[in-house]
């Protein structure tokens, strides 16, 4: 993904850099920087917003975003922070790109934030103990875990977690979405799985179905495009694998074991439901077929 971003910016600034007010030497510096080290999700977001501004011929906006892209940003390690705990304008961008109703991701209060941070730390500790490969992979895939507070109203539309192709490396967790460490560990495996799939898609899609074609999805009540069904089915297998490994390692608190087994059974059912939709209606690219086969092989081995 980084290599593609670097090559794209090299191309864009080579073609229209002057109009965007970007000096060629500065562009070369940024391209080299992107090739050399992990990048903040915000840089991916600024890129997408810049090209969308170019598409719309909003030149002033495109110039401002190009200028933002030139600014260096530390993206070493995994940052866990609340939605508003970032540079001016970034919180709005994260809301815009991560969720369809930006108002549903509020800044959590200090107590809720501290509790969520503590639960995330505990979830990583659990994964470190019971499934260290998954823990390491999550730390590799994610640059930022963004914490927001979903609505308290039980009738309101809400979210548990969200990831976006346009903010690669970021995942949004609802501080009110998980209430225990085991759920948070599964949410991390889940959302990092979306980022993994996004990373597979740098040069094309996993599925060929049109977005207008919608189907039943194992994790959503609303009908979803095949791409969404594919994602959901794949991440269900990833959650199943995570729980299976945690249970086998003995890392799961005995008090949580019954609930973990119930979750495992739900993942089994949801995978079967999602995979049936994919088998019946999915038109997969060779890459998509290869990816879903890895999930099928795992689920078959775990049955």
């Amino acid at each position: 993904m980084r290599e593609r971003l670097a090559a794209t910016l090299d191309y864009v600034f080579g073609e229209v850099g002057e109009e965007l007010g970007v000096d060629r030497a500065e562009a070369d510096r940024v391209v080299s920087e992107i090739r050399a080290a992990p990048q903040s999700p915000n840089r991916f977001g600024a890129y997408y917003e810049m090209v969308l501004a170019v598409e719309s011929d909003e030149l002033d906006e495109a110039r401002a975003l190009a200028s933002e892209l030139m600014a260096s940003a530390d993206a070493s390690g995994l940052r866990v922070a609340a939605i508003e705990d970032r540079a001016p304008g970034q919180a709005e961008r994260y809301r815009r790109l991560l969720i369809s109703e930006p108002g549903m991701a509020a800044q959590p209060d200090a107590t809720l934030l501290a509790d969520t941070e503590e639960r995330i730390d505990a979830a990583f500790a659990l994964l470190d103990q019971g499934f260290p490969q998954m823990s390491a992979e999550i730390r590799e895939l994610l640059r930022e875990i963004v914490i927001a507070a979903g609505p308290e109203d039980p009738k309101a539309i809400t979210f548990d977690g969200a990831s976006s192709y346009m903010l690669w490396g970021a995942t949004l967790l609802n501080a009110r979405g998980q209430t225990n460490v085991l759920d948070t560990a599964q949410a991390l495996a889940h959302e990092s799985g979306h980022n993994l799939l996004f990373g597979f898609c740098t040069s094309g899609s996993l599925v060929e179905n049109a977005d207008e074609e919608v189907f039943s999805s194992p994790l959503r009540k609303d009908p979803r495009p095949m791409d969404g069904v594919f994602h959901a089915t794949y991440v269900v297998a990833r959650m199943h694998q995570t729980l299976t490994r945690l249970l086998a390692s003995g890392a799961v608190d005995p008090a949580d074991r019954e609930r973990a087994l119930a979750d495992l059974a739900a993942h089994q059912r949801n995978f079967a439901a999602g995979d049936a939709v994919i088998r019946e209606n999915g038109r997969l690219t060779p890459l998509g077929a290869e990816v879903i086969e890895t999930a099928r092989a795992y689920m078959a081995s775990a049955a």
């Binding site: 191309y11 229209v16 997408y48 539309i157 809400t158 976006s164 979306h194 977005d211 994790l219 739900a266």
Partner: protein, 52 residues
């Protein structure tokens, strides 16, 4: 004056399919913010999904 957007070959760019989806959505009159989220955000609950 040539538009900036016409100077670029969009197929060479990272995420061009997502960009095209968003462009089409905007042309259809969709709200940009919502469409970007709908197209590229995979917003899933771990178990319960979207609750209404």
């Amino acid at each position: 004056m040539q538009k900036l957007s016409s100077k670029l070959d969009w197929t060479r760019m990272l995420g061009f399919e997502q960009i095209a989806d968003t462009r089409n959505a905007v042309q259809e009159g969709a709200k940009l913010d919502a469409k970007v989220g709908l197209k590229v955000g995979v917003k899933l609950g771990t178990k319960e999904g979207v609750k209404a």
